[in-house]
Amino acid sequence: MGFILNEMQSSNPQMNAEKYSSNYKMRNTPCSSSNKLRTYKADLHVHTVLSPCADLLMTPGNIIKRALASGLDIIAITDHNSAENVEVTMELAKDTPLHVIPGMEVESSEEVHLLCLFNRVDDLLKWQEIVYNSLPDLKNDEDYFGYQLLTDLNDEYAARVDRLLAVATGMTVEEIVDKVTKMGGLVIPSHIDRPYNSIITNLGFIPPKLKFPLLEVYKGTNPQDLIKRFPFLKGYSFIKDSDSHYLDDLEPMMEFRIKKVSLEEILLAAREKDGRGIILKQVKR
C-alpha cells in the first residue's frame, strides 16, 4: 500500500497513471478478484476547506475520521471548480478502509453545478487545468466568500488559493459533459431539486440530448416524490449525497452494491446490472 506516494511522485506521468489507477481500484479490497458483490456506504459529494463556503474544520484528515466514524466506505472529494485537496485526501486515506474517489464540483456558464468524478487523480488534475483556464480572472475576497485553503499531510493549513473559485466557468453544461466524458470521467448533476445552481431550476428541465446515467437529489428528497413533480425524471437513476460543508453533515445517504470501487461499477449499479444496485436512504415526510 505504501507505494502510492512513490507513484504520485513518479516523473513518468503515463506509468504513474496506469499503476496508480490499478492500485487505486485494488487497494483495500482483497476480495476484488473474487467478483463478489459487496455493499459500500457512499457519499460522492464532500467539500473541504478549499471550498470557500465549507467550514474550516473540513480538513481532509477530519473528513476521513468523521466519514469512517459514520460508517462510510467511499467518499468523493468535490470542491468548487478545484481539485487541489484531492491528492492529499487520497494519501491520508490510503492506510484506512476509506476509498476516496477523485472529483470536483464544477459550475457551468448557466450556473448549474455538476459533479465530475474520475477513476484517476491525474485525469482529474488535467481536467482542473481546463477548468482553471475557463474561470474568470478574479481574486478571492475572503471576507465575502470565505477561505480557500490547501492542507498538507499533517492535516494543517498549508496555503491559500488566491483565484476566486466560487464562480461560474465559461463552459456550458454540454461542453462540460462532453469534455469530462472524453477524459474518462463521469458527470452527475448536483442536487437537481435545489432552488438554485441546479439543472432543473436553471434550465427548466434536463436537456434531452444529454444522457446522464445518474442524477443527484438533495438529502431530504425521495426521488419518487420528485418524479411526481417532474415526470421527465422517470427512468433516471439517482444518487443521494450529503453535500457536506460541515463535519456534522457527513453521514451515509446511500449504499452501492458493487464488486469493487470504480466508476464503471457505479455505472453498472445505476443500471442494476447482475445484482448490482444503488439503495438510497428514504426520508420520512
Binding site: 448557466e110 456550458t172 438554485y196 431550476t201 436553471n202 434550465l203 436537456p207
Partner: protein, 127 residues
C-alpha cells in the same frame, strides 16, 4: 411623427397591439431568428432561471434574458412568448438558433440591459 405619437397613445390605452416586427424597428433590435415577426406582443417577463420563466411567462410576452442555452427555445415554445430578447449582447448557443429556426421562435438581441430595455418597452406602452 404625429402618427407615431397617436399610435403610442392608443397602445397605452390598450387599443392596438404591437407586433414584434414593429418593435424590432423601433428599438433597433438585432434579429437572430425572425421567422414569425408578425406575432403580437402582450407585456413582458424578465428571467434567467428557466424553471421560473416556465411558471410565470405568459403567451405573447416578450421574454428578456441573458440565458443562451438551447432549453430557452423549448421554454419559449411552451410559454408561447412572442419573442425572446437576449439582453447585454449575451451569446446564444448555435444549437438554440437552429432549434428556434425549426420551431419559428423569434430570437432578438440588444446591447441594452434588461432594466434599460424594460424601461424602453414601458415608454412604448408595452406593459
Amino acid at each position: 411623427m404625429v402618427r407615431q405619437i397617436v399610435l403610442i397613445k392608443q397602445l397605452r390605452k390598450g387599443m392596438i397591439v404591437m407586433k414584434v416586427r414593429e418593435l424590432v424597428e423601433k428599438l433597433d433590435l438585432e434579429v437572430i431568428v425572425g421567422k414569425s415577426l408578425d406575432k403580437e406582443i402582450t407585456g413582458g417577463y424578465i428571467g434567467d432561471l428557466l424553471s421560473n420563466v416556465m411558471a410565470k411567462a405568459r403567451a405573447g410576452n416578450l421574454w428578456l434574458t441573458i440565458q443562451g442555452h438551447q432549453n430557452v427555445v423549448a421554454v419559449a415554445l411552451l410559454t408561447e412568448v412572442s419573442a425572446v430578447i437576449i439582453v447585454e449582447d449575451f451569446d446564444i448557443e448555435e444549437e438554440a438558433v437552429k432549434k428556434a429556426e425549426e420551431k419559428s421562435i423569434n430570437i432578438l438581441r440588444t446591447p441594452l440591459s434588461a432594466y434599460e430595455l424594460a424601461g424602453k418597452l414601458f415608454e412604448l406602452g408595452i406593459k
